[in-house]
């Protein structure tokens, strides 16, 4: 089979939404599933970190974060001048595409599992570290020369917002407890992960369906951006992965991180930092177009790109 069965759950949800089925996932269940996924991913990353010397990842880490900051800086002028969007909208969308999506990343990990490809465990750490710069750059772009940012509230949201908080908290617990200490939790957090991801994708499909309906009103520029931007970001990720000498799996995950757009942390932070931006635009693009594009089409392409460059030595 070409793609992972879990993505079929997204399709099922999207179809339910588009056909106006009465299928609804209660918001408290949505919250519980997302808390679970964030914690589980964090724990997994922490355990991997505990197994490897941290020193190893400092240099590649800096490169990955700096290159990642290019993404919103590239997206902003495209949206502003080519897409003729308002400054706040352009900045907010740029921040969404600069940050990363935990679920897209998880689908990437699952994809690698199916292909039996290993990857550098510390990639998970960048789920935490790529989020923040993009959000701060987004806020700066929105305000450049115009009024003030509510930095206090905004930075609080960035650092203590639940997604970063749970990822970072999980990382720490996983790191402190180590592979042995976490073993009794393996069954819940690791073995059940993929099943829970399937349920979450069902819900994502339902939500995305309602966003897709909105998209018609925003025109082809935004839809085009939501497809071309992840491809460009993935090229950047593949190139960097190649330069850093990452494995095929690590390169795929780096491209996937760059290509993914946030729809948990970024919407919350941007709603506070750049409230004039229309959230329907950024969420519609990231959740209604980029997310399904990545999980169905993008990831296989990025994988192909990663295998391609891997045959050329660094």
């Amino acid at each position: 089979m070409a793609f992972e069965p879990v993505v079929l759950f997204f399709l099922l949800g999207a179809v339910a939404g588009l056909l106006r089925s009465d299928l609804k996932i209660p918001s408290s269940i949505y919250d519980a599933l997302s808390i679970f996924l964030l914690l589980a991913i964090g724990l997994k990353g922490g355990v991997k970190l505990a197994e490897h010397p941290i020193g190893e990842m400092v240099l590649p880490g800096i490169a990955i974060i700096i290159a990642g900051a290019l993404i919103p800086l590239l997206a902003f002028p495209v949206l502003r001048y080519f897409g003729r969007m308002s400054r706040p909208d352009s900045a907010s969308i740029a921040a969404h595409y600069g940050s990363v999506s935990v679920v897209t990343f998880s689908v990437g990990v699952t994809f690698l599992g199916q292909k039996m490809e290993s990857f550098e465990g510390y990639m998970i750490v960048f789920l935490v570290f790529l989020e923040m710069p993009a959000l701060i750059i987004g806020a700066l772009l929105a305000r450049y020369g115009q009024g003030e940012v509510r930095w206090g509230k905004m930075l609080h949201e960035v650092f203590f917002g639940k997604s970063i908080f749970l990822l970072a908290g999980g990382l720490l617990i996983g790191y402190i407890a180590g592979p042995e200490g976490i073993k009794p939790l393996d069954l819940l957090f690791f073995d059940l992960f993929k099943g829970v991801l399937a349920l979450f994708l069902l819900e994502m499909g339902l939500v995305a369906a309602s966003r897709m309906a909105d998209l018609r009103t925003y025109g082809p520029v935004l839809v085009g951006f939501a497809i071309v931007m992840p491809l460009l970001s993935a090229v950047l990720g593949t190139a960097l992965g190649w330069m850093l000498g990452l494995s095929v799996g690590g390169t795929l995950l780096l491209s996937t991180l760059y290509a993914s757009a946030s729809y948990i942390a970024a919407p919350a932070a941007m709603r506070i930092a750049v409230p004039e931006a229309n959230p329907a635009l950024s969420i519609g693009a990231s959740l209604g177009v980029t997310f399904p594009f990545n999980i169905f089409i993008g990831i296989p392409i990025y994988y192909w790109m990663a295998t391609l460059v891997s045959t050329t030595g660094a």
């Binding site: 918001s27 949505y30 509230k153 819900e203 919350a268 506070i272 959230p279």
Partner: protein
Amino acid sequence: MTAKSMILLTIISEAMLEAILADEIMQLGAKGYTVTDARGRGTHGVRRGNWTAGGNVRFDVVGDAELCARIVARLKEVYERDYGLLMYTSPVELQN
């Protein structure tokens, strides 16, 4: 009965503003407030309440006319332009 005439101010806004609005309301002098989860539809579109970023909250505040006017004025100034917001008042008899 010792019923006192008061004003009930009802505010409907985005769920993610809950903590912020609660702080505003208390700082403007309210003795309390009540919050319920809500969803709905208005000029900002449908808010299904099926995921975190997509729900509303409803605040009910019982207070005197001045308090309510102060809250209305403040929320209009700061939040009305950028956030989904509906506010209405009605007279009530406080019974305790």
